[in-house]
């Protein structure tokens, strides 16, 4: 593999972490809002390009193992990229790149310009942490990167325009720290049993040791810890406030990446380290996770229906959508896990699209309250059209990505004979129709109040990122080979390694 002519490109995995990390420092130093934005955007798009190259390489040549500093694993720290995390890396860096491109226009509304360079520094740090968690092959590294991304996301959330951003941020900080510390405790117990921190080595050692109480407690700690970060119902309490009061850009970014990477970490621990047998046959994790997932699907959607702030409505809808991902995971079959992974990918596209639409509305109208949306269908046609398409995808209408993931989840439920679950998935989709329709009705079928100020179309700097995501929603809804195909191979790999 190691070719001298390719020496730089063979270090590509390390660049995914090192470049955003160093650029964050430069962002602090340059002090100019526009220059910091330019740097952050360039870095994010470069990371996205790198992630695409990496996925292509994984598809062609198989799993990439990169030895940090030349130390061989399991002693040295390894970056390990397989189909699963290559896909997650693409979505993380891709969403980062799209969202940060939109931030130049949107951010000036909410954050004073002299703080912009620090904002971009925190943004890049968060991206570093998320990318690091995704590609590392070392469990302690997962904890460190988790805390890097968490601390910077608390800082990003606290930048919201109202004072409630501060209380939302500290609420998330307290819960997030408990989650992170529980994960660390679980990692400690795993280290006690196996004497290694390398994921592959740890899985081998655990298979030799077999299940004992320490391992089970470790599994419990890791599951609860990551579930807090993933906002699994009922550990989701931090999420609605954090998403509502954070700056619109931050919400679009975190909703599509932070919970997704937490899902990745949970799946990685369950399938690659503990193995299906231990998690689902010894501890019966599915009996805990599946009911929680189904309750989340309904509770999240029902609460969403009653929200008057659309940003908050979308936040509760996220709780419901996390339920779908968790449902796929808890089925522990190839189709189910494929559905979970592909929904991770798809939900990231549609939710960041919807939150970016909210950024447009906030930019032009100054509020995301449902009353502010009256007549917006005529006044901001391109923005609201994007909302409709992403909303249809949220419901799961064919030709959008939402349909693809629901299809996999429903067929997984049918496959394993759990037809009530399939019915519940369809029923909860109907709830999504209700909360999306509310907005559509207000925007298209109600006239704007007569005293409403003139509203211009959304600025091009926001519309282009929004429509990039909308285009992706339709593209991956029709051509599923990249998202669902890779997710399917990843699911087969995870389940194959686990049993």
């Amino acid at each position: 593999m190691h070719d001298s002519g390719l020496s730089i490109s063979s270090h590509l995995p390390a660049f995914q972490i090192a470049v955003p990390l160093l650029s964050a420092v430069i962002c602090v130093l340059i002090r100019k809002a526009r220059a910091a934005w330019l740097l952050a955007t360039t870095v994010a798009w470069a990371a996205f390009a790198g992630a695409c190259v990496l996925l292509n390489r994984v598809i062609l040549h198989g799993t990439i193992s990169y030895e940090q500093g030349g130390w061989t694993p399991p002693w040295g720290i390894e970056l390990r990229i397989d189909l699963f995390n290559a896909l997650v890396l693409i979505i993380v860096t891709g969403i980062c790149a799209v969202v940060i491109s939109a931030s130049l226009t949107s951010l000036s509304m909410e954050v004073p310009e002299k703080k912009h360079n620090l904002f971009y520094a925190a943004f890049l740090l968060c991206m570093t942490g998320l990318a690091g968690m995704t590609i590392t092959g070392d469990v302690f590294n997962i904890f460190v990167f988790l805390e890097i991304s968490s601390l910077s996301s608390y800082a990003l959330i606290s930048q919201g325009a109202t004072r409630r951003a501060l209380t939302s941020s500290i609420q998330y900080l307290v819960m997030g720290t408990i989650g992170g510390t529980l994960l660390l405790l679980g990692i400690g117990m795993l280290y006690m049993v196996t004497g290694t921190l390398n994921i592959v080595d740890m899985a081998d050692q655990l298979a030799m040791v077999g299940p004992n109480r320490t391992v089970l407690v470790a599994l419990a700690c890791v599951t609860v810890g990551t579930s807090i970060k993933l906002a699994v119902f009922p550990l989701h309490i931090w999420l609605p406030n954090a998403y509502t009061y954070a700056p619109a850009i931050v919400t679009a970014f975190l909703a599509a990446t932070a919970t997704k990477v937490a899902f990745y970490v949970l799946a990685r621990f369950i399938f690659s380290i503990f193995g299906v047998e231990l998690a689902f046959e010894q501890l019966h994790l599915d009996r805990v996770l599946m009911p929680l997932a189904i309750v989340a699907m309904f509770a999240g959607s029902i609460v969403a229906i009653y929200q008057t702030d659309i940003k908050r409505m979308l936040a509760y809808s996220s709780v419901a959508q996390i339920g779908y991902m968790l449902l796929g995971l808890s089925m522990a079959s190839v189709t189910g896990l494929t559905g979970g992974i592909v929904h991770l990918f798809n939900h990231a596209l549609m939710k960041s699209g919807l939150f970016l639409v909210m950024a447009c509305v906030l930019y032009r109208v100054g509020s995301t309250h449902i009353d502010a949306m009256r007549g917006l269908g005529k006044r901001m046609p391109f923005t609201m059209a994007a909302f409709v398409i992403a909303g249809l995808s949220m419901i799961g209408v064919p030709l959008t990505v939402g349909f693809v993931s629901k299809w996999y989840l429903v067929s997984a439920a049918m496959e394993s004979g759990q037809w009530p679950v399939a019915v519940l998935i369809l029923l909860s989709s109907l709830l999504a129709v209700v909360y999306i329709w509310r907005v559509v009705e207000v925007a298209y079928f109600q006239e704007a109040p007569e005293d409403a100020p003139e509203v211009k179309k959304a600025p091009i700097g926001l519309l282009v990122p929004v429509w990039t995501l909308v285009f992706a929603i339709i593209f991956f809804g029709i051509f599923t080979s990249l998202s669902a195909g890779v997710a399917g191979d990843a699911a087969r790999m995870l389940l194959g390694a686990g049993s």
């Binding site: 302690f140 601390l151 409630r164 900080l173 307290v174 720290t177 408990i178 510390t181 400690g188």
Partner: protein, 119 residues
């Protein structure tokens, strides 16, 4: 049930639950952060005592050094301590900002103020 050799783990568990209880039960944000700190420190102590071998020395290759404590968990905790300090610093900074904005750091009073804003 009670094994004196496991005393350190008992202490760690008591500390951990004290911390968690403080975070949940106390409404004062500073007390919450203190609880969070205790919680984190208990896990740090868990790692440190895990690596300790009775009668073991620092891992030095040489004559007279035969039983070593495991340095890896100890080194890991250097990073975890940094994380804990960063979290504490950031949390305190947030509390200062909350005090400026709300003029209180009691959670129930903050909630009342926020409820007033909405209604």
């Amino acid at each position: 049930m009670f094994d004196p050799g496991l005393l350190n783990y008992w202490i760690i568990m008591i500390l951990m639950m004290t911390g968690l209880y403080t975070v949940i039960a106390k409404g004062n944000l500073i007390k919450k952060i203190i609880g969070l700190g205790i919680f984190q420190v208990s896990v740090i102590m868990f790692f440190v005592s895990m690596g300790k071998v009775r009668g073991g020395t620092a891992p030095i290759a040489g004559e007279g050094f035969e039983v070593f404590s495991n340095p890896v968990p100890h080194v890991l905790m250097l990073t975890a301590i940094v994380v804990a300090v960063a979290t504490l610093a950031f949390a305190l900074a947030l509390v200062v900002r909350i005090k400026e904005e709300y003029d209180t750091i009691e959670e129930d009073e903050i909630r009342e103020l926020e409820a007033g804003e909405e209604g």
